[in-house]
Amino acid sequence: MKSLVVGICCLVVGILLAVGPLESVNAHALGRQQLERVEAGPYRITAWTDPLEPDTGRQLHLTIAVEDNSGLVLNAKIEVEAVHRQSGKKLLSVASHEDAINKLYYEAKFEPKDVGDWDFTISVEKDGEVGEAGFALKVAKGGRNLPIGWIGAGIVGVLIVGLVIFNRLPTSKRK
């Protein structure tokens, strides 16, 4: 019976480990699409932001794809400016292939510390040809992002170690 209870606990916590969002890790998806092949001079710009609900407690990833009539444009110079509407604070970041997981795209990172509306402007330049597009984004107040996955892993580890130690205790001490 004890084994069954421990087994079920490990299974439940294991599932938490598998599906819990790991906020402490820098992994991210493309996220929410902000621009869908928007015309910007000779280019078309597509942009996504992750996390889906940005807040002041987490890094914001901006993934950018640039196309022209012949397909995806690589090795362009891309600058992204973010302006906080309420305070006028500006953040500037350069988007590059190196930071992007998909090397056909570009990625820029931001750490917006102010709650409210931010205006993002993406400027693309390659071989003298420039294009610009923008979007607005609302940033919420950052909460406590519990790393559920890591907590789950910790609990599983404690249970396993506890069971191993318990099994090795002399019978009289187990009571």
């Binding site: 084994s3 069954l4 087994g7 480990l17 598998a18 599906v19 969002p21 790991l22 890790v25 820098n26 992994a27 991210h28 998806a29 493309l30 996220g31 929410r32 699409q33 869908e36 092949r37 078309r44 597509t46 996504w48 992750d50 889906l52 794809a65 196309e67 397909g71 995806l72 690589l74 292939h97 997981i101 998909n102 090397k103 056909l104 996955g149 892993a153 069971l163 191993v164 099994n167 090795r168």
Partner: protein, 294 residues
């Protein structure tokens, strides 16, 4: 080298310590168990089994960390490739490695005995597992899961929401593991029916289930998953053509794979029937001899 091809080859993403952790634990357990049994000269610890198991692990790594995962949000056929690897390639490779007994042997003796008690004939845990993983229920779960995630709403959500995407992969992988557990009859042999007819039936049912979905995707004249119309196209592949390729992957190579499995199981069934027949004849002969001598 073509920049697009180069980008495809290098766009690997290992930023998933949770998955790496789980794969490392199971890989280590298997290796330790295999070495221990090998030292005891057990027939369980063979080189083909070891290679099969780690080929399964490598398949999971390919599906989840390689450019296949990176490009799945941009190309539909990449996403299909990823799913097929998780549902149809990794599970049979893992099960053919016979992982359960080998990983049990990696665990210290006392804990191994405690875990073993969960698997004895009369245990409640075993009865629950046997019920939940029965062959036809496994097929129903597998097929329902496959069709559910190809609903446009679910699918589109999975391409943009990492959490939903993880759930999708977990359900694909686990439903594949349960189905292939029945088909490979790996230990623990809870469904220890050596008759292959049931398994042949599951393979046929699965063949049609996957093929029909593949045909629908290939023959559809419109783009079913709107997400792919919003992303930049690579190498001039249109969203509709991309969908056709993905559908063809589910239809043709998958169909061929199921046919091969069917033929393999059929040959095993024929062999099993012949052996049974031979055994019965032998028993009849011995009984007759005994009667004559009496």
């Amino acid at each position: 080298m073509d920049p697009t091809l180069k980008a495809f080859l290098v766009s690997w993403d290992f930023q998933r310590p949770d998955v790496i952790g789980v794969l490392s634990i199971f890989s280590t357990l298997y290796a330790v168990g295999w070495i221990k049994l090998r030292r005891k000269q057990s027939q369980l610890a063979t080189w083909p089994r070891l290679m099969s198991y780690y080929a399964g692990i490598a398949t999971i790594i390919l599906a989840l960390f390689s450019s296949i995962d990176t490009f799945q949000s941009q190309l539909f056929f990449m996403h299909m490739t990823q799913h097929l690897l998780l549902m149809m390639a990794a599970p049979p490779l893992l099960w053919l490695g016979n992982p359960m007994p080998l990983m049990m042997w990696a665990i210290p003796r006392k804990e191994r005995q405690q875990l073993g008690r969960l698997l004895v004939q009369k245990s409640l845990f075993r009865r629950i597992i046997v019920t939940l993983t029965s062959p036809w229920l496994a097929w129903v779960l597998y097929s329902c899961n496959l069709w559910m995630w190809h609903d446009p709403n679910f699918y589109n959500t999975s391409t943009t929401n990492e959490f939903v995407h993880d759930i999708q992969h977990l359900t694909f992988f686990f439903s594949g593991m349960i189905l292939w557990w029945n088909l490979t009859d790996a230990a623990p042999q809870f469904h220890g029916d050596r008759n292959y007819v049931k398994r042949l039936g599951i393979v046929v049912a699965d063949f049609f289930s996957t093929m029909i979905l593949g045909v629908i995707l290939t023959m559809s004249g419109t783009v079913i998953y709107s997400h792919y119309e919003t992303v930049p196209r690579i190498a001039g592949i249109s969203a509709l053509y991309d969908q056709m390729i993905g559908g063809l992957l589910m239809w043709i190579p998958t169909g061929v794979f199921y046919i091969c499995i069917f033929l393999l199981l059929l040959s095993l069934q024929i062999q099993y029937s012949e052996n049974r027949s031979r055994l019965k004849n032998e028993q009849r002969r011995l009984k007759l001899k005994k009667e004559i001598l009496a």
